[in-house]
Amino acid sequence: MSEPGKGASYREVTFSAIIFAIVIGVVMNAAITYAGLKIGFTIGGSAIAAVLGFGVLRGVLRKGSILETNIAQTAASSINTSNSGIIFTVPVLFLIGLPLTAGSSDFWLITLAAVGGAILGAAFIIPLRKQMIEIDRLRFPTGMGVAAILKSPGAGAKKSIVLVAGIVIAAILFWPNIAHSLDLWNYGDIPLTVNGHKIFTNEEFDAGKLLRLPGQFELIFGLAPFALGAGYITGRAGLLVLAGGILAYFILTPMAYSLGWMPASIDASAAPGYGFSSFNRPLGIGLLLGGAIMGVIVSLPAIKAALKSVAEASKLKSGGDELGLKPLIFAVLGAAVLLFFAADFVAKDPVNQKDFFTGTSLVGDNAPTTIVERQDFGYTIRFENDENASRWDAMDKADQRQLLIDNNAKPGWLAGLPTHVRSAIIAVVGILWIWLAGIIIAQCTGMTDWSPISGMALLTVVLVMLLAGTGAVIGAVLIGAALCVAITLAADMMQDLRTGHLVGASPRRQQIVELSVVAIGPIVAMLTILIIAGANIKQGGPAFGPGTSTAAPQAQALQSVITGVQGGELPYALYGFGALLGALLGLGAFSGLGVLVGLSMYLPFAAIATYGVGCILNMIVAKIKGRRWAEEWGVPFAAGLIVGESLLAMLINTIVLLR
């Protein structure tokens, strides 16, 4: 028996782990960026990287430890994860006619902002980890699933078999869902119809139609083993998500339809979709926001204790297990400077590509050589010539303002401030908002595994456009990209740190590794976007969107938000009422209640229904076999379901990419 502390050091942060992580992370990032632009969703990398790390570090190299594999999956997933933030936001610029090229400064500024966001996301979780993982003990189902994979060697052969069984069953269940990407037989080909309505699509099972429920009631289950597994790991607490879904889809929508609160043109079958976009989703986003703010207020003592603990640990000579507050402070300052410069530079971009008076194009090879600029209402406005600029000067302020509004460029709240001051305020507000959005996302993924990134991106774009003006689209997308990258990374990192806690990893080492590689992800994703856009344009089509193989569905959704803000079509009051309800819900025994209910109103019912089934299964198993059995055997199986879906999706995406 060796003495404590003697002998070869326990493998944790190693050269092989880092190299493996960078290679796998970059490959996953590029592949999933392409697939995400094509099919509209991305895949988290933790489970895939854990399984691959297991195979390579332990299987092939035969020297990997549990903690080394954990470091590898932490770094690989952090390189991969930023792609979902990028593909949600950046392609929207191509869609609205503001293309990016490798030679344009806007491309590199957005990349810079995304890198800043990545660093910020990784830094903000330093105190959040302490609060949410150690004090509040959120479950982070994927993190628990990945821990089950990592611990399988020590947990015994039987549990490994259960894990593998979960993976195999997930693959069998998920194959007919994703097979449509390869034009193969899928769930949508099941010829079951009721009154002419199909019961199966490739992704969903419509139980409502099968049970002949009235059309305004939506009872749809997503055919997704991942959701089932995540629901099982969450257990009873996840039922609140199901309750919120019932409120949205079984009370609000049918009631609004029956009472004539929807337009006459909406028939029963269209009511759930109309209800989702017109009131359920806005209320859900508001509830998320209010619930998170109340959560922060209620948790102030915990946040204080977390900060104190992190600060005390950083004073230790060895640094202890905590990274300390210095990296957080440096990251915030660095990101603030990056965002300031990016916002300041972008603010000088002209608001118009055509002359307001003559409609003459002011960009491209045929642009006039006599272009004149004016700085008004916080915008740089360009004119074809001096004559048109003088015509602008001669207009009174109200008419100038109206002309801008008519051209989708309503001046923002900060329009009267000098450019640098405005950029500084936007940078500070952006960072505060990233912090709050990070908390919201971390709470959501911690409690349920779902991450409302699109809702947060929507609010970010709205916020920046309100501050800078509705014409400041590039600025809004720039901050939006930074935010999306930051919050997706924060959510992913929290899952990885939860895994780390369960296997006894040093959070300090995990965070140092993450901060060291986190900038790679946004650069890879941005370059991939540029390559795909270039290839599409070379083939004579648009860069993205309809008519290309990369429709960028998420960016199309954001485009509709931007045009909505420009056209004054956003239900601000519903966000506010939702926020008030969310905050008041948090006054009860559980401060995160508003977040859970909001999340369930925000998500499509198909996702939460399957998730809810997982929660109920956990309760049934616990009732029959006891809680210990449900955890000990059920969690590895549920982890298998999560991993199986991720692995198969990754495999199919790779085939799609190669075709």
Binding site: P4, L283, A305, L587, M601
Partner: protein
Amino acid sequence: MKLIGYLLMTAALILGAVASTTAYVPPISLSDEAFKNASGEYATLWDGAGKGTGDEPLVAKGTHLTPEVLAQLRAATDPPVERVRVRSFAWGRWSHKYHFLLACAGLLVGGFLVKSAVRKEALAAPATDQPTTSPEAAVAAIAQITRDLVADLPRLPAGDAGCEEIIARLDPVQKEYAPTIVDARTKLLGRLGMGGYAQFMDRFSALERQLNRAWSAAADGVMHESQTCLHAAHALVPDVEARLKGS
């Protein structure tokens, strides 16, 4: 009292959400003046209203709701138009504003009832000595396992057998006692307050992480690391016990 509080919160949430859905959907029975925004302009239709010929609405999306347009909508009979969706919110046009305020009051009262009931329950909960139900007993059991393991380290067999012994002894900590402490959050919050609970969980998590690391190292067959972690965990035990007592 807790059940009443939860029921009140549920009812208030439903009422508040239902009331909110009408924020942009005023009844057209309101006066023409009510459809004027603060700017003096008439509100604009967000969606088409009424049923026209074919699939077309009677009045198209984006139309200003001038008195003439409102009269046209009020005259519609097949089907009649009762409400329209407008782009701008106005307090005066919101038909369910008082329901919403009532819902807010309900959430406040319900939240208060739930919170005070939970606090009372936590303070009145009888202490048990079962480590699977009582956080105090669970901490004591974890402390005992840690102390025993550290004391027995010199006597553990070398190699895989020693590692398996560590894993076997730490299994109950991971599977039963630590979850008991996590589940007792409400009870502990009631006793220690949020600040005290946070301090206790901070220290307990440090202890738990060392034990988890000891488990992982043992599973990897790295005995010396496992021993180091058990010693580190052992050093944290008195602090965890003290924080649980609120000191």
